[in-house]
């Protein structure tokens, strides 16, 4: 399984190399087996490694790098030979510490950068979202205020309308007062009519009562009774005369 994985990885790594450099392409054509591919990769890797080491040295050109390296080595040799710098157990500790810190830096740099970038990107997203929300809020407020751009004319119209309404209310109040006055006058007149009617009715009743009373008193008189009796007799006589 490990061999298979290694073969696949090597085949994957050789593919771009074969297309990029004629030398590797030649190697790929010459050696068909996976073992030969591995050899081709081994030919390429030390060059890269050497280049990376040379690139890691301070200086811009190959000449300056060589110069710096030579001066550094000479200085180190001078310091050690003159016992300005004494190599002892602290040097071992120094090398180990620098080595450890280098390894930690190499291992931890990329994950930390990713973490920091992710965190900062998260903050950027929060800021951008907040800015968008703020812009949207400001825009909605602007739109809301823009709807009130004719506010002067609207206010004048509303003021005119309120004046008309006040006038109408005044008229309504006046009319209501008139209606109320009319109703009051009508009720007073009605009560007066009722009073007059009652008064007339009472007078007529009293008149009828007095007439009846007078008639009764007259009828109670003997002269009247005799006169009535005589008149009745005379009428009876007339009737009987007619029949006869």
């Amino acid at each position: 399984m490990a061999h298979k994985l290694a073969t696949q990885r090597l085949a994957g790594s050789i593919r771009p190399l074969a297309t990029s450099t004629p030398r590797v392409a030649l190697a790929a054509r010459t050696f068909s087996s996976s073992a030969s591919n591995q050899n081709a990769v081994k030919v390429e890797e030390p060059e890269k490694k050497a280049n990376s080491i040379i690139d890691a040295l301070p200086g811009n050109s190959l000449l300056s790098k060589t110069g710096i390296l030579t001066v550094g080595a000479s200085a180190a040799a001078f310091l050690v030979s003159k016992e300005i710098y004494v190599i002892n157990e602290e040097t071992v500790a120094l090398i180990a510490t620098v080595g450890l810190l280098s390894v930690l830096y190499k291992i931890g740099r990329e994950p930390y950068n990713e973490f920091a970038q992710g965190y900062i990107q998260n903050m950027v997203n929060i800021f951008n979202d907040a800015r968008k929300e703020h812009r949207a809020a400001v825009q909605s407020r602007i739109d809301q205020v823009a709807e009130l751009k004719d506010i002067v004319q609207v206010t004048k119209d509303m003021f005119q309308m309120s004046k008309d309404m006040a006038q109408m209310e005044a008229q309504i109040f006046e009319l209501k007062q008139r209606v109320a006055f009319s109703a009051e006058a009508k009720s007073v007149l009605d009560s007066w009519v009722r009073h007059e009617a009652n008064l007339r009715e009472r007078e007529q009743r009293e008149l009828a009562t007095s007439v009846i009373e007078q008639s009764r008193q007259e009828l109670m008189k003997p002269e009247v009774q005799n006169q009535i009796l005589e008149q009745c007799i005379s009428e009876v006589e007339q009737l009987s005369a007619k029949r006869a």
Binding site: E90, T91, V92, A93, T97, L100, A116, Y119, F127
Partner: protein, 282 residues
């Protein structure tokens, strides 16, 4: 005949006089030691780094990578303070954070070759903070009080915690020494035990840190590097073979790095715990 000189492993822990001021004040002579110098350097360095990282944020809208580390440490310590002392007592956060940064910088300084580790000195953590900076000699007696510097800081914490407890609870604070439900007959015994237990915190807090740092510095770091160096200089073959223990030694320095962080965290966790005990008693 090859002469091999073996240095005393404790040589690195020696406190040397760098600068002294003679004064007639009470017959004392004030001396600036290497320990005091390192503490001054570490204090200035930690303050400068913190201020530099924080001031960078004044110019930036987003975090710089450096401030992200500091904020992560701050968030961790804040969470620890909330868990240990409670959210209502976040006023102790500056103390705990400062202690953590100070101890961490002290521990990490010991990892730098040719340097000096103040926290490996028990006296530093035991007695009052100012003493290692300006060490005094009474009647010109050169009392060698090395290796007890470490507990300076823990005694300061102990005194501070006791003052907090007395200020909050007045005399009720002493109920800390009588566990609830103790039978009357056992009270004298338990009070004695609890008093010893409480007082031992002052020693144990600094002793734990100091011993760990001494163990790493002395046993793992210095002695191992001495052995490897002796092995390397014997012959070219031994030099090549010694690359294997060199890898192990590098891993051990990684362990020292972890111990530096862990011990700083342990110190502040225990300090928080002691503060909580003083605030809430039982």
């Amino acid at each position: 005949m090859q002469i091999i000189t073996i240095k005393n492993p404790l040589e690195q822990f020696e406190i040397l006089d760098l600068f002294s001021i003679s004064t007639s004040l009470l017959g004392y002579r004030f001396v600036l030691t290497n320990l005091g110098l390192y503490i001054i350097i570490i204090t200035v360095l930690s303050c400068c780094i913190s201020i530099w990282i924080t001031s960078e944020n004044n110019k930036l809208l987003l975090h710089s990578y450096g401030s992200l580390i500091q904020e992560s440490i701050y968030a961790t310590i804040l969470q620890m303070v909330k868990n240990q002392i409670g959210s209502s007592n976040e006023k102790y956060l500056p103390l705990i954070f400062t202690l953590f940064i100070f101890i961490l910088f002290n521990n990490l300084t010991g990892m730098i070759p040719y340097s000096f580790t103040p926290t490996s000195h028990l006296e530093f953590l035991l007695i009052l903070f100012i003493t290692p900076i300006l060490r005094n000699y009474s009647n010109n007696s050169s009392v060698d009080n090395n290796n007890i510097y470490s507990i300076n800081l823990s005694i300061a914490v102990f005194i501070g915690v006791t003052i907090i407890g007395l200020k909050i609870h007045k005399l009720t604070f002493f109920s800390l020494f009588i566990p609830t439900g103790t039978p009357l007959g056992l009270i004298p015994l338990l009070v004695a035990i609890e008093t010893i237990s409480y007082t031992a915190r002052a020693i144990s807090l600094g002793l734990r840190l100091g011993c760990n740092i001494i163990a790493v510095q002395l046993n793992l770091y210095r002695i191992l590097s001495g052995f490897i160096y002796k092995f390397m200089v014997k012959s070219p073959i031994f030099f090549i073979i010694s690359l294997i223990p060199m890898l192990l030694f590098t891993a051990i320095i990684g362990l020292e790095l972890a111990v530096a962080f862990i011990q700083a965290i342990v110190f502040v966790i225990l300090t928080s715990s002691y503060i909580r005990d003083s605030i809430y008693l039982h």
